[in-house]
C-alpha cells in the first residue's frame, strides 16, 4: 500500500552536511503494524515526516496505492489532500491547538475537509464522529476541556482521536509514548494495538524495544538505511477489506 524507495535526505547547516537518510526504503502493507527503531538522531522522525508528506525527500520516492507522492505530476494540492484524508499523524509532543476544546481539536481535520458552504450539512456528522472517537479513546467526559487542562496521556489520546478523525488509511505515530510514563504509555500502546486489530494500518517510531514488541514487524534505521529486524508478532493473515475503525 505504501512504498518508500531509496529515500535520501540531507540537511545543510552552514557548511556541514548531515546526510540523514541515504537510500532508506520501506514497504507497508494494509492492516500492518510496523515499528521503526533506531538510535536518537538516526532519522526516524525525518523518514516518518516524508511518509506523511510533511517533508519532501531530496531523492527517492514514496508511492501510495501505486501513486507517486513527490512526482513532478503531483501538486501541492494532492499532498494536502493526502495529509488530510489518507494519513493521521500522531506527534511526540501532541501538538493540539490550545484555543480549542478537546472536541474541537478532534474535529479540526473534518473542518479542513469540509468547505464553508456545506458545513451546515456536514457539521452534525463531523461532530458525531469526533464524539464517538473521543469515547473510543476514553475521553468522552473531557470533551469541553482545553488541552492545557489535560494530562500528557490524555492529550496524546486526543491527538490519536484527531489523527483518526478522517478515517485515514494510514496512522503515523512518532514516539507517541516518548513523553509519557510507563503505565500511561502502555495504555496508549494498548489503544494502538486495538486499533490495529480492528484493521488500522500503523507505522510507529520508537526507540523503546518494549514498545516495539507490540508490532507485527520491526525495522531498524541505521546509517540512513532501513534494515529489517525480527518479526515481533504474527503478520496479519490477509489484508482486511475494511480499514475503518469501528468506534
Amino acid at each position: 500500500m505504501l512504498r518508500a524507495t531509496g529515500i535520501h535526505k540531507t540537511y545543510r547547516l552552514d557548511r556541514v552536511e548531515v546526510k540523514v537518510l541515504r537510500g532508506a526504503s520501506l514497504a507497508v502493507e494494509e492492516a500492518e503494524f510496523v515499528v521503526i527503531m533506531g538510535a536518537s538522531g538516526s532519522g526516524k522522525s525525518t523518514l516518518l515526516h516524508i511518509l506523511g508528506a510533511l517533508d519532501t525527500p531530496d531523492r527517492g520516492g514514496v508511492e501510495f496505492k501505486g501513486r507517486e507522492l513527490f512526482g513532478a505530476a503531483t501538486g501541492n494540492a494532492a499532498r494536502e489532500r493526502y495529509r488530510n484524508r489518507e494519513v493521521g499523524f500522531v506527534f511526540q509532543f501532541y501538538h493540539l491547538l490550545p484555543e480549542l476544546s478537546v472536541l474541537e481539536n478532534v474535529m479540526i481535520p473534518g473542518l479542513v475537509t469540509h468547505p464553508f458552504w456545506s458545513w451546515r450539512r456536514s457539521r452534525g456528522r463531523v461532530r458525531q464522529d469526533a464524539t464517538q472517537l473521543l469515547e473510543r479513546v476514553g475521553l468522552s467526559h473531557r470533551i469541553a476541556h482545553r488541552p492545557n487542562e489535560l494530562s500528557g496521556g490524555e492529550r496524546q489520546r486526543v491527538a490519536i482521536a484527531r489523527a483518526l478523525m478522517n478515517r485515514p488509511t494510514l496512522l503515523l505515530a512518532d514516539e507517541p509514548t516518548g513523553n509519557l510514563d510507563e503505565t500511561i504509555g502502555a495504555e496508549i500502546l494498548k489503544l494502538l494495538a486495538e486499533l490495529n486489530q480492528a484493521g488500522q494500518t500503523i507505522v510507529m517510531v520508537t526507540h523503546d524495544p518494549k514498545v516495539a514488541s507490540h508490532a507485527h514487524r520491526q525495522v531498524r534505521l541505521a546509517d540512513g538505511v532501513v534494515r529489517a529486524s525480527e518479526t515481533a508478532g504474527p503478520r496479519p493473515s490477509a489484508p482486511r477489506a475494511t480499514r475503518r475503525v469501528a468506534p
Binding site: S45, L54, K65, R67, E68, A77, R85, L111, V112, F116
Partner: protein, 558 residues
C-alpha cells in the same frame, strides 16, 4: 489527466476530483472561518486591532461629517443668499436699462425667468442716535416684496417670524406698547393680531410657550433701550398701545451689525423695534465721482433684523427700500444741463428662475439674451451708459459663492487626507499585530498544515481574521463616530462648562450657531468599508508569512 488521484475515501477517487483540486488548490476548509472567529474573541491582542480600527474610523467619520455638514450648510445658505441668477453691475455706479432688460428677458425666456427684482447698493455709516454707536455698513436697496421671492431673506427676518406681515421698509411710525389692567405688556392691535396668527400656525410649540412666558422686553419711553437686553424689545409707555410719529423709512439690519450673539446662538437686542437709526450715504455721479452735494443723512426706523447665517453678510449689511435708496444716491433719473434726464440705475438685477430649470443652462441663456438686448438698444445709448453696460456680468449663485465654497471644500479634502494618513498608521498597526500573532502561532499553523490545510487556506484564515477585526472595528467605530457627531454640541457645551477655554466652536466667530451634527450614510459606509479593506491589506504580509510556514519546521520541537 494532470495528476493522479490519491484518495479512496468516502467520496471515492473520482476522476476529475483530483484535477480540480490541483487547479484550485485543496482549499475548501471551514476551519479558517471557525478559527478566525475563535481567535477574534479569545485573543486579547485582537482587541487592540479592533480598538485602533475603531478609533480611526470614528475619527475620520467625525471629521468628514462635521466638515461635510459645514459645507452643506454653506451651500444651502449661499443658495438662498442672492437669487439663482444675478446681473451684476461690477461698479457702484450701477447700470441703466434694467427695467427694459427685465421686461425683455421675461418676454424672451418666459419658461426660464420667473421673477426679476433690482437691487441698489452702496456703503454708508449707520448711527444709533440713542447710544451714539456708529458702524460702517453696506446698504442694500431692495424691493422687499419681490426680494423675498427670489431668495430666503424672509426666513432670516426676526420680528417677521413672531409678527408675520408687519416687517416692511416703507415709512413707518414707532410702535409703543402699553399695559393692561393686570400690568402685562400689550402691543398695538395689529401687532397683537399678527402675533396671534403666528401662535396659531407655529409648529414649534415650545417657541410659542417661550413667547407666552415672556412676550417682550420693555424699553420705557422716551428711551429706546431696555433695562435687560432680550429677544424681543418694544418701547412701552403708560397709556394704551399706540403708534408714535414721525414716520420714517424702515431699515432691516443684519443681526451681527448691532447685536451681540449669545452662546446659545440667539441675540441680545438692546434696541426696541422701531428705534431711530440714522444712515449717512455718499452719492456718486454716473462717472463715479462724488456729486459734490453734502453726504445724505437719512433718519430710519429699525424695522427688523435679518440673519443669512453668513457672518460676513450679517455683520455688514443693512436693507432699505430700493426706490428710496436709488433716489438718495441720485441713481434715479436726474435732469441733465442740456435738458433730458439720465437713465435710472441699479447695481444688480436678481433673477429668480422657474422651478426645475437647470442653473448653468439658465445662466448661459440669460447671458445670451443680455447680449441680444444690448444689440436692440442701438444708437440711443449715451456714451457713459454704454461704458456702464459693458461692465455688467451674468452670474449664477454658484459662480458668486464659488471662491468661498471652494475654500471650505479644499479644507475638507485637506483634513480628510490628514486623518486618512493617520489611518495608515492603523493599517501598519494591524499589520504588526498580525505579524505578532503569526509569529506566536507558527506551531499551530504547522499543525493545521500537517492536518491538510493549504498555504492559501492558512493565509485565508489570517485575512478572514483581519477582516473580522476590521468589521468589528469599523462597526464600533461607526457607532462611536455617530454618537459623537450626534452629540457633538452637547459634548462641546459640557467641555465649555468645565472650562470656557475648551469651547472650540464659537458661534461668535463661525457663521453657524451649532456644529453640524449629521452623519451621511454614504460617508459612513465608505469609511467603514475602507477600514475593513485596510485591515485586510495590513494582514497580507503576515498572511503570506503564515502561508509559507513549513510544517516540519514548526512541529519538530515542543
Amino acid at each position: 489527466m494532470a495528476g493522479v488521484a490519491l484518495g479512496n475515501d468516502a467520496s471515492g477517487a473520482r476522476p476529475g476530483a483530483f484535477a480540480r483540486a490541483a487547479t484550485r488548490g485543496y482549499n475548501p476548509g471551514m476551519y479558517k472561518w471557525f478559527l478566525a472567529w475563535r481567535y477574534l474573541h479569545t485573543k486579547l491582542i485582537a482587541f487592540f486591532g479592533i480598538a485602533s480600527v475603531m478609533l480611526c474610523v470614528a475619527m475620520v467619520l467625525v471629521v468628514m461629517s462635521v466638515m461635510g455638514g459645514f459645507l452643506d450648510t454653506i451651500r444651502a445658505r449661499s443658495r438662498g443668499l442672492h437669487s439663482e441668477i444675478v446681473l451684476e453691475a461690477g461698479s457702484l455706479q450701477g447700470f441703466p436699462y434694467y427695467e427694459e432688460f427685465a421686461r425683455y428677458a421675461s418676454a424672451q425666456l418666459p419658461q426660464v425667468v420667473r421673477l426679476t427684482t433690482p437691487v441698489v447698493y452702496s456703503y454708508g455709516i449707520l448711527r444709533v442716535p440713542a447710544t451714539t454707536e456708529t458702524k460702517p455698513v453696506r446698504v442694500l436697496g431692495i424691493r422687499l416684496g419681490e426680494y423675498v421671492q427670489v431668495n430666503d431673506f424672509r426666513k432670516g427676518l426676526y420680528y417677521e417670524r413672531f409678527y408675520p406681515g408687519t416687517t416692511h421698509l416703507a415709512p413707518q411710525p414707532l410702535p409703543v406698547g402699553g399695559f393692561d389692567e393686570n400690568g402685562a405688556g400689550r402691543l398695538p392691535p395689529d401687532l397683537e393680531a399678527a402675533n396671534a396668527r403666528w401662535r396659531e400656525s407655529e409648529s414649534d410649540r415650545e417657541a410659542v410657550e417661550e413667547y407666552l412666558r415672556n412676550p417682550f422686553e420693555k424699553a420705557p419711553r422716551p428711551y429706546v433701550t431696555p433695562a435687560v437686553p432680550g429677544d424681543r424689545v418694544f418701547a412701552v409707555d403708560v397709556g394704551g398701545p399706540h403708534y408714535a410719529e414721525p414716520e420714517n423709512y424702515g431699515v432691516i439690519v443684519g443681526c451681527d451689525v448691532l447685536f451681540e450673539r449669545r452662546a446659545d446662538g440667539n441675540f441680545d437686542r438692546h434696541l426696541c423695534r422701531g428705534a431711530d437709526l440714522a444712515l449717512t450715504l455718499m452719492p456718486l455721479s454716473q462717472a463715479g465721482n462724488p456729486t459734490g452735494e453734502p453726504p445724505v443723512k437719512l433718519p430710519l426706523r429699525y424695522a427688523d433684523d435679518s440673519r443669512s447665517g453668513i457672518y460676513e453678510i450679517d455683520s455688514l449689511c443693512v436693507y432699505v427700500d430700493a426706490d428710496m435708496l436709488q433716489h438718495q444716491l441720485a441713481m434715479d433719473a436726474q435732469p441733465l444741463v442740456d435738458g433730458g434726464f439720465t437713465r435710472p440705475r441699479v447695481n444688480q438685477l436678481l433673477i429668480g428662475l422657474q422651478p426645475g430649470v437647470e442653473l448653468n443652462a439658465a445662466r448661459d441663456a440669460i447671458d445670451a439674451v443680455w447680449l441680444r438686448f444690448l444689440g436692440t438698444l442701438g444708437e440711443t445709448v449715451s456714451e457713459a451708459d454704454e461704458r456702464l453696460l459693458g461692465f455688467v456680468r451674468v452670474y449664477s449663485w454658484e459662480d458668486l459663492q464659488r471662491p468661498f465654497i471652494a475654500a471650505v471644500e479644499k479644507e475638507k479634502v485637506l483634513v480628510t487626507i490628514l486623518f486618512a494618513l493617520i489611518s495608515v498608521v492603523a493599517i501598519a498597526l494591524v499589520g504588526c499585530i498580525f505579524y505578532m500573532i503569526v509569529e506566536k502561532k507558527t506551531r499551530d499553523i504547522g499543525i493545521l498544515k500537517a492536518l491538510g490545510a493549504s498555504g492559501r487556506g492558512v493565509a485565508g484564515l489570517f485575512i478572514a481574521y483581519a477582516a473580522a477585526v476590521g468589521i468589528c472595528g469599523a462597526l464600533l467605530g461607526t457607532a462611536l463616530g455617530c454618537v459623537f457627531v450626534w452629540n457633538i454640541n452637547d459634548i462641546q457645551d459640557f467641555l465649555a462648562a468645565l472650562n470656557p477655554a475648551l469651547r472650540v466652536w464659537s458661534p461668535e466667530v463661525y457663521t453657524f450657531d451649532k456644529i453640524p451634527e449629521v452623519v451621511k450614510r454614504a460617508d459612513a459606509a465608505w469609511i467603514a468599508s475602507i477600514a475593513v479593506l485596510a485591515s485586510m491589506i495590513g494582514s497580507l504580509i503576515p498572511a503570506r508569512v503564515a502561508a509559507r510556514v513549513w510544517p516540519v519546521q514548526a512541529l519538530r520541537y515542543e
